[in-house]
Symmetry: none
Subunit: 220 residues, 4 copies
């Protein structure tokens, strides 16, 4: 009752392998409304009435679908994190070398951000999920899993000599993911750059950031 896919069983599932998807995720109307509202006004700046009226449903109807305001946030957070986790898994599976895997992963992460800015930016509102909310662990677990997948790529790249990272690998990973996360704050779909362009540029910059040597053959 408080999961993302109330109305449509598999509404939020991303087909695995489809990691270059650039379309927004399909979400039930209430979640789509909440996503937009949270993006524009933040969790605390959004009222439950905002959401209901955007969605065109009554307040009790909203409560029928979601336990409470936090439940809506949970549903969105889970929709976002599971989508990106699936994407990253597929992107890594689709690469043969650490270099290609990292490039693919950064690309799909940035595509995730640009494809659905609203949903991606909801990730920031995790701070407002009560720390004793049981779904929080689940979310954090998925995010950690994604980070571990990437950390593994970095470590294997170091081992193979593809990457040259003098300091703390985990801190560099934070650097890369931070850069990607911030895309939601400046990217505008109506702007000059397409999602694919940004994604490729970010992948290239990330490769340089981990010291991937330049002579190596291309990653596309």
């Amino acid at each position: 009752m408080s999961t993302a896919a109330t109305d449509e069983p598999d509404a939020v599932a991303t087909a695995s392998g489809d990691w270059r998807q650039v379309e927004p995720l399909y979400l039930p109307v209430t979640l789509a409304a909440a996503k937009d509202a949270f993006h524009e006004r933040g969790f605390h700046g959004t009222s439950i009435r905002d959401i209901a009226s955007r969605a065109g449903v009554s307040l009790p109807t909203l409560y029928y679908h979601h336990e409470n305001k936090q439940g809506i946030l949970v549903a969105l957070l889970e929709a976002g994190i599971s989508s990106i986790l699936n994407r990253v898994r597929a992107a890594i599976a689709d690469g043969d070398t650490p270099r290609q895997q990292l490039s693919n992963a950064i690309e799909t992460i940035v595509l995730h951000m640009t494809a659905d800015l609203q949903l991606a930016s909801v990730g920031r509102e995790l701070r407002y999920l009560d720390s004793d909310n049981p779904h929080r662990q689940h979310y954090v677990g998925m995010r950690t899993e994604m980070e571990d997948l990437l950390a593994d790529v970095l470590r294997r790249g170091m081992a193979s000599g593809d990457f040259q990272i003098p300091g703390d690998v985990r801190e560099v990973l934070r650097y890369l993911l931070g850069a990607c996360q911030e895309v939601t704050t400046w990217y505008r779909p109506e702007g000059a750059r397409s999602p694919a362009q940004v994604a490729e540029s970010y992948a290239a910059t990330s490769l340089r950031a981990v010291g991937a040597s330049f002579d190596t053959t291309d990653h596309t």
Copy 2:
């Protein structure tokens, strides 16, 4: 009356040249309280009563010193951006080559983030400043000035051959600044890494990200 330095005339001024400062900025008690509250709960999640009681003052006293809640946000945003702008100016002035200048700049930005996580994270709440608030322009102007300073460093580095950036320079700059901004979401002062360590590591990663060749002499 709505500026940051109500109680102490020069409270928020950072001594120029002091760009390796790792101490939090001094702020009047009401702003210090607001800074902590906004960091923990966000702008909309913080009530004016939260701020007043943290500051140990009454509600009307708070309003005597600040026009309204947005005015408090403005004061904090301006304190933060002017501090970082001063730091970046000094850091660039203190370097002889684009390479050293970029390294210094990233270092001071990360030190700014780690020295006062609370203040630095308030930058994110800019979204909640009414778009017709006259102070918004001022803030954005200062931020743009800082970005221009860094873009100039990047361009000069490209011209001199120090940096190798295949794509859009401005987008790479966004990448770097994004990575730095996100420091506030994961850094904890009680953790293993000191501000100086993180700052240096981020500077090094940033140099790699802009393709600064490794044989060049060090930047420390």
Copy 3:
């Protein structure tokens, strides 16, 4: 949702023809409470909490039924003006000569004042309705309509020779209506004079004020 007749569809309608009615208008409980409060303390002197507690409802319930404090004032103003407009229409229709029509009209106006002092006195609070409030025009339009009806009676009385008004007819009308409006400031139901007595006395004085000759047959 912001009209006078929330609870009972036709709550505020006055049966036309019933222009000698001396009973207060029926109003939903929240409006009845507001009417009394506004009468006693004025619009600005009345708090929304006063109204809610007089009505025995919670604050949010009050807001469920009325947009805001101004909306409550609007509902009362419209209830009053439409009642008096209907009364005046009926009173004039019920008279054969200008003399009888004016007498009837003044009588019903004074009866309106004495029948529901509280409601009638709310008319004074029109000044506190925001000048850009769309309902203001509607109210003023109805009031003007009533004044036009009376001005017409006066003009016809002049033409027929029933009335002798040397100066500006409109100014004399203001004189008459001013005298009637002020009834709400001194009349007390527990006093010596009945509504009917005051109404007749005011009608007679008004006839004299417009120079209606005394030999004509009576109007009662």
Copy 4:
């Protein structure tokens, strides 16, 4: 400390005999500010800060001159009522017959209203003077004195046969004074009619209202 004439001993005194005065009363700056504010927003709609800022003085300065907000209201009410009482006394003394005396009295009352709409309209705010305020009695006493003067004129006019009032004399007096009081709600100095014109027209209508016979020689 709470009377009208704090700054200037005789500031609010009207020279007796000058009952055709059409200039606003001189008032100290704080009272002039309060008068305008009360006129525009009413007593409860006006804040003490409104008054101070209109007057260009600080809040504590305002409190130095007046005990509190009610004290300001008292000062204005007394300024108004004593002015009108003096005028009415002089106007009656200046007439030889009841007819002329009533005409003069109505004229001066209307001139009082039009000469200083703001001050005259403050009379309505008497309702908001605490019923246990000692100044209230004084005010009401003066107003009663004025009404008694007029009632006496009416009675003498009845005795002499000048006036023909079938019903309650006191009620007719209320009628006349009501009409005059309401002048403040519609009169605008920038309008077509001069104060003198309105005053004469109201005097004539009042004479008719009390049944003063038409063949008698003029009252001007």
